[in-house]
């Protein structure tokens, strides 16, 4: 394979996609094990599970769109919408379990007033917990995270499809690059974050640098692989 302007463009697309994924993870309200016991705000599972769930749905919808058109904007938008629907469905059903199953009101312990609804938070936070459920600000933040994650994943998929024209290989590679960036970003937030209002969100620049370098190295290797026959 010869390096030309197109190859460089594809590498840049993969890097931008990786950065979207890395930054997107910071928007998703990940609560981890404490949230599973309704003792922390966010969805009660790990970053990788959430990112993989929404990212894979995004890839599916992007692949679906890619089978009818190669307009990059349509493919990326389709992936972003798919991921947003998936993460929103997860958060809505999670909130049902917290509100009607566990019996706790959604509340954030990181801010005194919800930045979007202006509702006071501390009176609703149960003693001994750091919030519970998915309040409005986390929900909006999570949707933005789904947008970025889905757009990033489908951008990587789009770039790879143009190189090797093999949906299986491109899809699996997109998942591989997606997982590496999502895990690096989740190390940056040490596993849990509430959304863009969380103080940990200020660490984004570090994940930005790490994902930039990681996606660049993996992207250079990935564009060299041909799709066989």
């Amino acid at each position: 394979m010869i390096f030309d302007a197109n190859t460089a463009l594809y590498i840049i697309e993969i890097v931008i996609g990786g950065l979207f994924v890395g930054v997107g993870v910071h928007f998703v309200p990940v609560g981890g094990a404490p949230a599973a016991m309704a003792q922390a705000t966010g969805v009660g599972t790990g970053t990788v599970q959430l990112a993989a769930g929404s990212g894979l749905t995004g890839l599916l919808s992007a692949g679906m769109m890619m089978s009818v058109t190669d307009n990059i904007l349509l493919v990326v938008a389709s992936g972003a919408v798919g991921a947003m629907i998936m993460i929103d469905a997860t958060m809505v059903v999670g909130n049902w379990s917290y509100i009607y199953g566990v019996g706790v009101p959604p509340a954030s312990a990181k801010v005194d007033y919800d930045p979007i609804t202006k509702n006071p938070q501390p009176p609703y936070v149960s003693q001994g917990t750091v919030g519970h459920g998915i309040p409005t600000v986390c929900y909006v933040s999570g949707t933005i995270g789904g947008l970025l994650g889905g757009a990033g994943g489908s951008l990587i998929y789009y770039a790879l499809m143009n190189i090797n024209h093999n949906p299986g290989l491109s899809g699996m590679f997109a998942i591989g690059i997606f997982v590496v960036n999502a895990v690096l970003a989740s190390y940056n937030i040490q596993g849990t974050i509430e959304g863009f209002h969380d103080p940990k969100f200020k660490r984004v620049p570090r994940a930005f640098q790490a994902c930039l370098v990681a996606s660049l190295v993996i992207g250079i290797i990935a564009v060299l692989i041909t799709g066989g026959a």
Partner: protein
């Protein structure tokens, strides 16, 4: 397989595990590929699966090393990252290397792993001393696992054949998840203050055998009855490893007693 015999606190050196894991994996893959080609059959594919079990044991040891520091994101994240890095390296190696593919994939994976470990420490500032080393081991384990399982399904070390029989059919998704789980599950299940190395690693042999069974089922559609041989051998390995694991669980636990069901009146 180099896991110390049960009983006592036999601590296995990680260097030894690396030599046996990577060596066993590469030897298994090449024996499977070359014997299959030389005899023009597919019945030696199971050797790649045995190599995969050896390298998964090494990956599990790397998970043990790094997760002992508490990475905050749960054990599954690092197992998924291992196969994520390994997948790109494995396919790169197979696509450019021909018969040398597994070696090239291993080298690229080692470079990826070291590099990403260094970034986790230097840029994200995780400050885990073994980060570089364990991510190097994990990426190598992920790459050899995926190459090995692909050779197990396809029967040859041949990129075109693997593309057609593993990637295009979608079996790669099954191998990806089965390989990740085999690497990450044992420590996730055994962690805690009473975790012992031999119990975790023996558990890894059984999860590796399950990944081999998954590969064997996928390979029935590709190489026919040779896949059934793979499943049978993997089932024997699983049974042996799981019985051994159960002995170690009994050794490490305060007591294993059958309590029976609750009496009818108290339900």
């Amino acid at each position: 397989m180099s896991v110390a015999a049960g009983g006592g606190e036999a601590k296995l050196d990680k260097k030894k595990l690396m030599i046996y894991g990577i060596g066993g994996g590469i030897v298994g893959i090449y024996l499977a590929g070359i014997l299959n080609m030389a005899m023009d059959t597919n019945y030696f594919s199971f050797l790649a699966g045995l190599g995969v079990i050896a390298v998964i044991v090494m990956g599990s040891e790397a998970v043990r090393m790094v997760c002992a520091y508490g990475i905050g994101t749960g054990v599954p994240s690092i197992g998924m990252m291992a196969t994520g890095m390994g997948l790109v390296a494995a396919m790169f190696g197979l696509s450019i290397g021909g018969i040398a593919g597994p070696i090239i994939g291993l080298v690229v994976a080692v470079a990826f792993g070291y590099f990403i470990g260094a970034m986790a420490n230097k840029i994200i500032k995780m400050n885990i001393p073994v980060m570089e080393e364990s991510l190097t081991m994990l990426a190598a384990a992920g790459a050899i696992t995926l190459i090995g399982l692909s050779v197990l399904v396809a029967g040859r070390i041949d990129y075109e054949l693997i593309m057609g029989s593993v990637i295009d059919t979608g079996y790669i998704a099954v191998l990806f998840i089965a390989g990740s789980l085999a690497i990450l599950h044992p420590f996730n299940a055994n962690l805690g203050p009473d975790e012992t190395q031999d119990r975790t690693l023996v558990h890894t042999i059984s999860t590796g055998a399950l990944a081999m069974i998954a590969g064997g089922i996928a390979s029935i559609a590709i190489i026919g009855s040779a896949g059934i041989l793979t499943i049978l051998i993997a089932a024997v390995v699983w049974l042996w490893a799981f019985r051994w694991y159960f002995q170690l669980v009994k050794r490490d636990s305060a007591g294993v007693v059958g309590t029976g069901l609750l009496p009818k009146g108290e339900m």
